[in-house]
């Protein structure tokens, strides 16, 4: 793991160019996530709201490639937008603009249902293992749920289009036949009698309206039947199918009962429809509840999902015995393992891990990091590892991207970015990491930044870091620095450095060698 990235880095194309020899798995292009806080309208002024229109630019134009099999570390301070970026890739937060390309599809512009299909390839591990697991579900259910969803989706996907179409057609046809039959039986005589009793054009009109009404009901019934057949054949959704099926049993059962009573010479149900509606709705509800009841036992009966879940639990180092336990019975580290197992359940190829170890004890952090690395090798996973813990990022990542106030400010190989950060913010960030060695701590000097991260509501103009940067010059307040390739595969956003003058300490005071490039980029 440790030597790989360097060698891999050699043949790595510049990440900002598309169509090179190495295809990125995820290609993020100018992604923006803005949160509109409102304000600035006449009503706001009237009601004492904000006088200015406020927009939080959480992610503001990020372009980034993530290559298959790598771990890309994303670091930054709280509020810099790193989590929002991770969520926006998976559309857990809707991006405002930009593109996220994955296997030729733009995730940012897929429909809800298309995105749902993609979610089995793209998964997330959340920070807080206490909040992200449903406390009322057992571990088996938590890990099993995505498998179940995935399986029913799989069935839908695998059944060919013609079968789906056939299902719908058969359903509508059957429904239409039944509907027509009853239509003829009831509506035509009714129409005739109405017509006869009222007479004249009024009779025709009223009779016609009633006829139309009954036709509509018949149509609805046929559509419902079509839906039922479609579900039973194609989606295999048990609940709705069961309910509709039993509802039908109720409907025809009522007729059968009536016939039976009639044959015994008793005319009991004068208005058959009322009995029918009553019985069928009773059976409908009964079917629905029954499906609820048997669904979990179906799972254990087949045992397939449980077997899958147990396999996954073993993969992430949880004992199979815990299958029926609830999240509160686990420690933080174990819960994080459950979260990982859940993400792995659908066999994804890309996982966004949002601060997966921040809530854990030191000894447990190491366990989770090692587990994630092991799984990456075994399943050829690609990670976007989001963390504010620079030591963890350094350890797990192949490449590291540094974010500040919604923008990427530096991107390079993990080792290189730690040994030789170019951008002043990265320098400060890395120097602030405490080293677990008193000798090193005694000799080294931290760059202590002044102040806090500015608010993303009104981010500073020009380079967003200029308010805290020790190397700030006047031009920094105006020019937005582009993420430029300063050294091979080492990108940094700072106008005071350039490929010719990569080290900011050696740049003459007031000089901005990167400015020419910056202006060129801004002009485009």
């Amino acid at each position: 793991m440790s030597t790989e990235p360097a060698s891999r880095n050699q043949q790595q194309p510049p990440p900002l160019e598309l169509g090179e020899e190495r295809e990125p798995l995820i290609a993020i292009r100018d992604l923006k996530v803005h949160f509109d806080l409102g304000g600035g309208t006449a009503i706001d002024n009237l009601l004492g709201g904000s006088a200015v229109h406020k927009v939080v630019k959480a992610v503001d134009g990020v372009t980034l490639d993530i290559y298959p099999g790598e771990t890309l570390g994303l670091v930054g301070e709280s509020g810099c937008g790193k989590s929002t970026l991770g969520r926006a890739i998976l559309r857990l937060t809707e991006p405002t603009s930009g593109h996220v390309l994955y296997h030729g599809q733009d995730l940012a512009h897929l429909s809800e249902s298309e995105m749902r299909e993609q979610r089995k390839n793209l998964q997330m591990i959340f920070q807080d293992p206490y909040a992200s697991l449903n406390p009322r579900m057992t571990v088996g259910q938590i890990i099993g749920e995505p498998i179940e969803t995935f399986h029913s989706n799989l069935a839908a996907e695998q059944s060919p289009k013609w079968l789906k179409a056939l299902g719908v057609v058969a359903g509508v046809a059957a429904g239409g036949f039944l509907g027509f039959k009853y239509l003829m039986r009831y509506s035509v005589p009714y129409f005739n009698s109405l017509n006869a009793s009222i007479g004249g054009w009024v009779g025709w009109l009223v009779g016609g309206l009633v006829f139309l009404l009954i036709t509509a009901i018949g149509l609805l019934i046929s559509l419902a039947l079509g839906y039922l057949v479609y579900h039973l054949l194609v989606r295999k959704t048990l609940r709705i199918g069961m309910a509709l099926l039993l509802g039908l049993v109720g409907w025809f059962g009522a007729g059968a009962i009536n016939k039976y009573l009639e044959s015994r010479g008793k005319e009991i149900a004068e208005d058959l429809t009322i009995l029918r509606v009553f019985l069928s709705s009773l059976f409908f509800v009964g079917g629905w509840l029954l499906a609820y009841k048997i669904k979990p036992s179906l799972r254990t009966f087949g045992g397939k999902i449980d077997q899958e879940v147990q396999k996954l639990m073993e993969t992430v180092g949880l004992s199979k015995r815990f299958l029926r336990r609830y999240p509160h019975e686990f420690s933080g580290g174990q819960r994080q393992r459950i979260g990982i197992a859940r993400a792995l359940a659908v066999d994804p190829d890309f996982i966004v891990a949002d601060e997966p170890i921040s809530a854990l004890d030191v000894s447990i952090q190491a366990q989770i990091m090692n587990l994630m690395e092991k799984l990456q090798r075994a399943k050829n996973l690609t990670y976007l590892f989001i963390s504010h813990d620079l030591r963890a990022i350094r350890h797990v990542s192949d490449r590291v991207a540094v974010m500040y106030l919604g923008k990427l400010v530096e991107l390079a190989d993990a080792k290189i970015i730690y040994d030789e950060p170019l951008m002043p913010y990265t320098k400060a960030l890395i120097s602030a990491v405490p080293v677990p060695d008193p000798a090193v701590e005694a000799t080294r000097k931290r760059i202590v930044l002044e102040g806090d991260v500015p608010s993303p509501i009104n981010p500073p103009s020009g380079c967003r870091f200029h308010t805290r940067c020790p190397y700030m010059i006047e031009a920094c307040k105006e020019v937005v620095p582009p993420l430029a390739e300063i050294k091979p595969n080492h990108f940094a956003a700072c106008i005071r450095i350039s490929p010719e003058e990569p080290y900011i300490e050696r740049v003459a005071p007031g000089d901005a060698p990167g400015l020419r490039d910056a202006q060129r980029v801004i002009a485009t």
């Binding site: 004890d361 990091m369 030591r391 760059i447």
Partner: protein, 355 residues
């Protein structure tokens, strides 16, 4: 005033919690000294008893369910355990003060910062309103809050996390305490803010000569801040040593494991060492050494007999059956470590100095 220059002496402190689940021996017989002007680091994972130790020192253990079962806490020659509650109150906040982990929840959201700061000095130092107000502003300036005079009347939600932690520090230092207990003071903060706060505590310590107890789970933080370190596990002191000694020659398998499981940002590593298993349930400790089930050095004796607290050097103690052996081994490893590694670290630090 105090014997042998110790501001604080803790002897055989036992704090138990009586719960439905059984007796939780959160702190079980720990002893340590803190010299005036020194900084002591207490390191441990969650549930190791490090916070309970410090709550015990200022007698803030919720009773029930908790109780300090036995032990002596001698602060500046006085046994805190023997004092009546009123007297303890006079010490708390004035002579011993605390900074808590979460600055979001330890400030009252309904009170202006000024009022929260003034409360202390008016109570403990008998300041009148205007004196206390001026003092509050002075303290905010000391901890580096820009434009303190206009911000002092703000509410906590108007301050960022780092600023709130500064307010907490200002509050803790406003009566010039002799002992400052900082319980995970930077855990909730970003690294750049963490660096600011640590530098601030260091600076204030030099200026006022306050003794500090720094509780943390981050070995990186204690490495640069402390003179002595106590490593706690399952309510026991597992190792106690001067900082340099502890990092270079750990005499306890747990400390060693902990040190190895932290990724070192200055060096290249392969797979990270991991301590197997989970921290124990303190209510149901196994017989023998509580770390034995996770220990790579464990032998049969470890699961049977409680380990002795072995003295390795004059100031270095370790709770382990094999303390001497582990100590000798890690000292040997230190001597064998290639000089280039530490030279590389120094070179890296020089780079940082250049900036």
């Amino acid at each position: 005033m105090s014997r042998n220059g110790n501001i604080l002496e803790v002897r055989d402190l036992k704090t138990y919690f009586y719960t439905e689940d059984g007796t939780v021996k959160a702190v079980d017989g720990i002893s340590f000294d803190l010299k005036r002007g020194e900084t002591l680091g207490i390191v441990g994972e969650s549930g190791s008893g490090k916070s309970v130790t410090n709550l015990s020192i200022i007698r803030l253990i919720p009773d029930p369910p908790g109780r300090i079962v036995s032990g002596e806490i001698i602060f500046d020659g006085q046994d805190v355990m023997a004092l009546p509650t009123e007297e303890v109150r006079k010490i708390r906040g004035k002579r011993i003060s605390m900074i808590f982990q979460d600055p979001m929840t330890s400030l009252n959201p309904f009170m202006r910062i000024s009022k929260q700061l003034m409360e202390l000095t008016r109570l403990h130092l008998g300041y009148n309103k205007s004196q206390a107000y001026e003092h509050a502003i002075k303290m905010l300036e000391t901890v580096g809050i820009p434009d303190a005079r206009s911000r002092v009347d703000g509410y906590p939600h108007e301050f960022s996390g780092g600023m709130r932690q500064r307010v907490m520090i200002a509050m803790a230092l406003s009566c010039e305490p002799e002992l400052l207990i900082a319980d995970e003071p930077t855990t909730a903060l970003d690294v750049t803010i963490q660096a600011q706060i640590l530098e601030l505590i260091k600076k204030l310590k030099q200026e006022t000569g306050t003794s500090v107890i720094l509780i943390t789970h981050d070995l990186g933080v204690v490495a640069g801040m402390t003179d002595h370190i106590i490593v706690m596990y399952a309510g026991k002191v597992f190792e106690q040593a001067p900082t340099n000694e502890l990092f270079q020659c750990p005499g306890n398998p747990y400390t060693k494991g902990l040190l190895r499981s932290v990724p070192d940002p200055t060096s290249e590593q392969g797979a990270l060492y991991q301590i197997p298993g989970l921290p124990p349930d303190v209510a149901h400790l196994p017989p023998g050494c509580p770390f034995a089930p996770r220990c790579e050095r464990a032998e049969e004796i470890c699961t049977r007999e409680f380990p002795p607290f072995v003295q390795l050097t004059s100031e270095h103690f370790s709770l382990c059956h094999f303390a001497e052996e582990v100590y000798a081994k890690s000292c040997k490893e230190r001597d064998e470590r290639p000089a280039s590694a530490s030279a590389g670290a120094v070179a890296a630090s020089e780079n940082i100095l250049d900036i």
